[in-house]
């Protein structure tokens, strides 16, 4: 299964039948279908716009903006913290993350929390990850920072 973290919004793509149910059974995390992808249950109602001051998934929006949820997240500097099941300001994420290159991919311990800080002090904002059912692990083919 492929996972795209877009500025802290999560898009899961089922590349083979049964991957989503396998993932939910193995991790205990619930995913729901939204449009052409799956996402975490708490992000199912992620809006395609924000108005400054209006509640945005529990956080007051800081930008007036229209666009896909990932871009709305970027403009409002928020990410989904799947460890707390909350949408939070990216600035509040201070968890360190270690990402190592291994051949043509990157590896990290578990699923990267968007906003995590690398050793260089950069925050992870986006990544393309692949879930291995056999190893119950994630590998990454793209990682972006700010």
């Amino acid at each position: 299964m492929r996972l795209r973290c877009v500025h802290g919004y999560f898009k899961f793509d089922e590349l083979r039948y049964g991957q989503v149910s396998d993932f939910m059974n193995l991790t205990g995390l619930s995913l729901v279908s939204v449009g052409d992808h799956f996402t975490f249950e708490s992000l199912a109602e992620a809006p395609d716009f924000s108005l400054t001051g209006l509640d945005l998934l529990g956080v007051p929006a800081i930008a007036t903006f229209e666009g896909p949820p990932g871009e709305v997240f970027r403009e409002n500097e928020i990410v989904y913290d799947f460890t707390k099941d909350l949408v939070v300001p990216i600035a509040s994420i201070v968890r360190p993350v270690e990402i190592q290159q291994a051949g043509n991919q990157f590896i990290s311990s578990g699923l990267i929390l968007p906003g995590s800080l690398t050793a260089a002090g950069k925050k992870v904002t986006d990544y393309l990850a692949w879930f291995s059912r056999d190893r119950l692990s994630w590998s990454y083919s793209e990682v972006a920072y700010v």
Binding site: D48, L51, T52, G53, T64, E66, G67, E75
Partner: protein
């Protein structure tokens, strides 16, 4: 992609949508009188538009009333000119007041378009 939301605009040109003021919203109409309309959003831009139908109707009503008054007055004046006297009709002062009131009404409307 774009988003369209119901919105209102107050007489200062401040747009409100979803219960919050949207100070960065550009008002495409005049915005000098409270109105209800639509806010269009695309990326970081927000624009407000209201229906100008009520403004147009009020304008046409006032213009029609003024022209009708003028026509009535001229008809009365014309009727008075067919005889031996050219004295204006007794309704003339009232007609002039009515026409001037319509001019005032239109001037005010011009300064308070939605």
């Amino acid at each position: 992609m774009s988003k369209i939301l119901d919105a209102t605009c107050d007489a200062t040109g401040l747009v409100t949508a979803e219960g919050v003021p949207v100070s960065e919203c550009e008002v495409l109409s005049e915005g000098k009188q409270a109105s209800a309309g639509l806010m269009f959003m695309q990326a970081g831009k927000a624009r407000y538009l209201t229906s100008s139908a009520t403004d147009i109707k009020a304008t046409l009503d006032a213009v029609t009333a003024a022209l009708t008054e003028i026509a009535t007055t001229l008809t009365a004046i014309g009727a008075g000119m067919t005889g031996p006297t050219t004295a204006p009709p007794p309704t003339l002062p009232t007609s002039v007041i009515t026409i001037n009131a319509k001019v005032t009404e239109l001037t005010q409307l011009m300064g308070a378009l939605k």
